[in-house]
Symmetry: C3
Subunit: 154 residues, 3 copies
């Protein structure tokens, strides 16, 4: 389902709109979005991005142009999530969104987890299954949990 409040760019390819959950977000031109993807309100996806199946992009995440998001990638916007506060389910009033930015040309491997408050630099590569807990320099290749730099792209 694509909610009415989604700002959708031109030529976006979503093969199965019935299996995505997009609401209140902005999607750039010429993006491709896979099945079973959720993108929350306030999230921004730049032009020519690929968001692969089973991924979740939350409020507070800005993805610049030409970024690849693999399958099963999870973003986070809350460092200490709790279900309830004082015996009531948390509401939006109970937390502050911590922002994350993925810069132009970066690639994030499948099943990676991106903690909040980080910047993934331009053309950086996040290995599949990595858990990113801090900023990733431009062109760095990181892997592992917590992710560490293992190489630098030329």
């Amino acid at each position: 389902m694509i909610a009415d409040d989604v700002q959708m760019g031109k030529d976006v390819c979503i093969h199965h709109p019935e299996w995505v959950n997009l609401y209140g977000c902005r999607i750039g031109d010429a993006c491709k979005i896979g099945s079973f993807v959720e993108i929350q309100k306030g999230a921004v996806v730049g032009d020519r991005c690929k968001v692969s199946s089973h991924s979740f992009i939350c409020e507070g995440v800005t993805i610049e142009a030409d970024v690849f998001i693999g399958h099963g990638v999870m973003f986070i916007n809350d460092r200490y999530p709790k279900a309830s506060v004082n015996g009531k389910l948390q509401t939006e009033a109970d937390w502050r969104v911590i922002e994350t930015r993925v810069c132009r040309g970066a690639s994030i491997g499948s099943n990676a987890t991106i903690l909040c408050g980080v910047v993934v630099g331009e053309d950086a590569v996040i290995g599949a299954g990595a858990v990113v807990t801090r900023d990733v320099p431009a062109k760095a290749v990181v892997a592992g949990a917590a992710a560490r730099v293992i190489a630098t792209e030329k």
Copy 2:
């Protein structure tokens, strides 16, 4: 889809019932359940829990009240799963469910994997992407694969 045999509490919020697969489970009051979630028969979710998108809760899992389950969290109930036995697909008769309990107030980060037979203590915090292979003490903060205690909540 919410099967007829689900014991559903009061004031449960499921924005997209067409994208959840709940059957034979018990869901407490005032819970919130995200999209693309599966909860199997026999699983129990307490009051005021949040189960975020893309998570899977299997038979044998008991989640007490006020627990946060992040996105893409997977529970397990079989230590040595096999597809087939003696040339036939396994059936329920071929395995014994190993139980897991998540105690009141715990939070489980996104993309975490919880092996079977463990107890996650009260108010414990499981870091995003962690692989929990043994019991987690109350109020402990664990991270990594296999998950280790990195701090204790006050």
Copy 3:
């Protein structure tokens, strides 16, 4: 949805065909496929396999008979994925699929990530949450990220 071009074996069990995305693939006899699963064109799944919920099997992956695929398992067919090339979204012409094989009787734990170009040997066991970056010997039990041999099945 099961596309018309899927070569489906006999007695395949898919409880919720409306929540799977299968196209151009071959599925063997007596398989069981869970919800929110995507299997791409060119992928091959042998007889008596279980593919659990939330998993993704891409082009270039061959799964032999009697293999268990847990929940949230992601396969990969591209070592250096990029969203775009020279200002245009990548198309299939821009990459070469790197093949992966999972041999008969293997079991892959939930939330595991299988990098491309690897062979998972017969009856091998991949621990939950593991990131498999190289070949796994037959009957080996591997775990961790990157996955290492921790035991050998008798």
